[in-house]
């Protein structure tokens, strides 16, 4: 008796609210449309950089001179660093690496050249005095086969 009552109740509900189903293809199409709209909104919320109104120099690979210096920094070898770099380079390096006390990662991110001067950009990651991990940027200037400055 109760089963019969439940069945009748379900039949009534089904008659009152017919199931609305979109076909599979339409659902996928609407979902894809939604994704495209979402991407458009996200792009609008974070626009690309404005166009560069100036000339742009072409990129160069990592110069071996700065690569050698970076290896010494990563090895934490102060003695060799003092032999490879003059006081001006060391001073620039100290300012560029501030506040890092210990460097555990260095990555060459790009370089460019002009009239024999090469600028090689690195991102150094390490620990500061408080133990926090930081990343800083440093640009090595290479000329005449040696590193002549760091910014």
């Amino acid at each position: 008796m109760s089963e019969l009552g439940t069945a009748i109740g379900q039949a009534q509900v089904a008659a009152e609210r017919p199931a609305v189903r979109l076909s599979g293809a339409v659902t996928v199409l609407l979902f894809v449309l939604g994704i495209l709209a979402g991407i458009a909104v996200a792009r609008y919320a974070s626009p690309p950089p404005p166009p560069n109104p100036y000339a742009e120099l072409s990129g160069v690979g990592e110069p071996p001179e700065s690569a050698a210096l970076v290896q010494v920094i990563l090895a934490d070898d102060a003695r060799t660093l003092s032999r490879m770099a003059g006081s001006e380079v060391l001073q620039g390096l100290g300012q560029a690496l501030d506040p890092l006390q210990e460097v555990f990662e260095a990555k060459f991110v790009g370089g460019t050249a002009r009239k024999g001067d090469i600028l090689a950009a690195y991102v150094f990651t390490g620990r500061g005095q408080t133990g926090q991990t930081f990343s800083v940027g440093a640009v090595f200037r290479v000329s005449g086969g040696k590193v002549i400055g760091v910014n």
Binding site: F31, G34, G38, P53, E56, V109, G137, A138, N151
Partner: protein, 136 residues
């Protein structure tokens, strides 16, 4: 019946939109942090660099954390003094990184002074929450 079909369709578009927005806005920075395809140049860093080269103190002020009145006045003074001192020749993005909310972006700029002397200078910017907190 038609009303319900429209509601279902709208809900599908909405779910898709939310998915697309989240993947683009959260996935992009995550991919950059993992350095899968390198770091994309930030809009704020490029705008700041153009502000430096065009000598626009208002732009620079809007992209740096608000400092005290004296440092802001100094920035305007330096900008006034630099007016017409040099002409920018090129601006090249070298690269950068994004880690834990901090971004580092590096540039090479070429300038010609009023006396005709050319300079080739690097500049490293550190950004936090879209503001330049360090300029080296």
């Amino acid at each position: 019946m038609v009303g319900k079909a429209i509601r279902t369709a709208l809900a599908t578009v909405l779910v898709g939109g939310l998915f697309g927005y989240l993947v683009t806005s959260l996935g992009g920075p995550l991919v950059e942090e993992l350095s899968v395809f390198g770091t994309r140049e930030s809009t704020e860093a490029r705008t700041y660099m153009i502000g430096v080269l065009e000598n626009e103190p208002e732009t620079l002020a809007s992209l740096t954390p608000k400092g005290d009145i004296v440092s802001r006045a100094m920035q305007y003074l330096q900008s006034d003094e630099a007016q017409g001192q040099w002409t920018p020749l090129s601006l090249t993005y070298l690269g950068g990184s994004a880690k834990g909310g901090l971004q580092v972006h590096m540039y090479a700029i070429e300038l010609r002074s009023a006396s005709g002397r050319e300079q080739f200078i690097p500049l490293a910017l550190t950004l936090s929450n879209g503001k330049v907190i360090r300029r080296e």
